[in-house]
Amino acid sequence: MSYVIRRVLQSVVVVFGVSIVAFFMLFMTGDPTEIILGDGADHMTVQQIEEFRVKMGFDRPWYIQYASFVGNAVRGDFGYSFTRHQPAFQVIIEKMPATIQLASIAFVLSLLISIPLGVLSAINPHKPIDRISTFVALLGQSIPSFWLSILLMLLFGVKLKWLPISGSGTWQHLVMPAIALAAFPIARNMRLTRSSMLDFMQKDFVRTARAKGISEYRVVTSHVLRNSLLPIVTAIGLEAGFLLGGSVIIETIFGWPGVGREIVQAIGSKDFYVVQAGVITLALIFAVVNLIIDLAYSWIDPRIGFGS
């Protein structure tokens, strides 16, 4: 029980930390007024700028501003978007389903491909199938996702004309972004599965199982795979952060109308309230997902949660 409380508190601290980062982002160059107004300040008189500063409350001490920022944020109020003409939080919430859709499809895709491939590699070590998939995994970890996206667009969109280059609406629109987003997790999970399984195959209890005359298939499935999935489950928790972060680039490239693209566009138009709202919401989702995974994990594996 104390583990659960500690873990929940930890998530609260994390979200609190993210809120500090998101808040002080505006103060990084000194004056948030300048950042919010951007080039617009050139057309304003000194007095108008000053009035704007007072109106936004930027003349108050930073800690009061931060307190009111947190107070408002808790109620879902992140300020008003100048470009979208609606509350910043609402802008983000409206884009959320698209991001979650893309991320979850990429997530499922990554598990469906990486784990079988990792298993296949591990039970045929140093055979061609292992060498090829290991190299492809290394390649997958090394190709930047935006370059992979462009390659996919060139091949399936421009040359073969099988899939639409950008936008959303049909399932075809989802294919390329999902592959591009899943590529890195596929590569990493495949390598993780492989090394974790190879590790367990050396263990005494697996050798004992073999010595007992259990079929190789049973050894692999019930002794090795079950144990080696534990580190993969841990990695999956962190994957959520990767998928949400990676979606920033992928969504922008493929014009996928999600939170990531919204944040990038908001940055371009200096709509910083939307940026803050997006960043904090993503962090919140990530913290909750991780919390759930960790708690589920401690429930599955009794070794975690004991001691400190």
Binding site: S2, I5, R6, S308
Partner: protein
């Protein structure tokens, strides 16, 4: 052996907190050393024995103030170490050194032998130049029987016995008065143990050193020590001159330990009466009431289980903590 006290240990306590729960509250303490007192005379070798987990290693480290003791007092040459400033303590370390148990872990794997032995010299400003340091290191290596040409090798290139010689040379570098030998031979092969013991004896006689010799092997301890103390669960059970302790042990725990030593003479060995201790060592976080040894003592009575015996002088210069000693 003179009658001059070099190290005085008074009611030394070393407790390690046990933390648990949400805010890491202290919920208890492992009483590794729970109030031990003795003097170490200049020039003597005081043996300290006991089972593993009895707190003898911790006692050695607390005496050198490598850990800040929880209570009690250690005076070295009449100065209370606890009252020293960190800088003062650091300077005092020149005169009191340590030889460690594990010759593999106690040498920095990334340093060459010459550097390992030479560092204490530099730390305390005992050499003024690199050539001077080199000369002193050469001298030290010869003193402990190491080939001087090995100066630039790394620890992993040596055997256990050679490594322990490196550790001894390091301890000797600052010309200390007092050396704690913490199970310095336990990790070595039996044949090597004798070599190292001989080396330690020879150095003691040549350099006028004083040792606190911590070990669990009683036969080696008898050989090198002038006096021997027996520890059990953080407490001193018995302390006497080597001969007295081995010939006339007063404490049942000491007798049990001694009965476990094999005698290298087959007829005598066959007659040896072993006194087997039953049960496990109780947890030092929660020691038994009364006498700590009462749970395993063949002589224990209700008195033993209720009242902790005092550590008293049962014969001339022979102390024991047992109601029946």
């Amino acid at each position: 052996m003179s009658e001059e006290v070099l190290v005085q240990v008074k009611d030394l306590k070393m407790h390690f907190p046990i933390r648990a729960g949400l805010f890491n509250r202290t919920v208890g303490a492992v009483k590794a050393v729970d109030g031990i007192s003795f003097d170490i005379m200049k020039g003597e070798t005081l043996g300290l024995v006991g089972e593993s987990g009895c707190g003898k290693t911790t006692a050695g480290r607390a005496i050198l103030h490598l850990y800040r003791p929880t209570g009690g007092e250690v005076s070295f040459k009449g100065t209370d170490l606890a009252k020293e400033s960190p800088e003062g303590l650091r300077r005092t370390r020149r005169h009191m050194q340590m030889i460690f148990q594990d010759p593999y872990a106690s040498l920095n794997p990334q340093m060459r032998v010459g550097e390992i032995i030479g560092r204490p010299l530099r730390v305390h400003g005992l050499v003024k130049s690199a050539p001077e340091e080199k000369d002193r290191v050469t001298e030290l290596m010869q003193q402990v029987g190491l080939n001087v040409s090995y100066r630039d090798r790394f620890p992993h290139e040596f055997s256990g016995g050679q490594r322990q010689r490196i550790g001894i040379a390091r301890a000797l570098a600052t010309s200390p008065d007092f050396i704690v030998c913490d199970e310095a031979i336990s990790a070595l092969d039996v044949s090597i143990q004798a070599q190292i013991i001989n080396l330690l004896e020879q150095l003691r006689d040549e350099l006028g050193l004083t040792y606190l010799f911590i070990a669990h092997d009683l036969s080696m301890v008898r050989y090198i020590s002038t006096r021997v103390g027996v520890m059990y669960l953080g407490k001193m059970m018995e302390l006497a001159s080597s001969d007295a302790l081995y010939e006339e042990p007063r404490h049942p725990y000491t007798r049990a330990l001694l009965s476990a030593i094999p005698i290298p003479d087959p007829p005598l060995e066959r007659q040896r009466q072993r006194m087997l201790l039953e049960g496990d060592l109780p947890s030092p976080a929660n020691p038994p009431k009364g006498c700590r040894f009462s749970t395993r003592c063949p002589m224990a009575t209700d008195l033993c289980r209720a009242v902790e015996p005092e550590f008293r002088e049962v014969a001339t210069r022979h102390w024991a903590a047992c109601h029946f000693a």
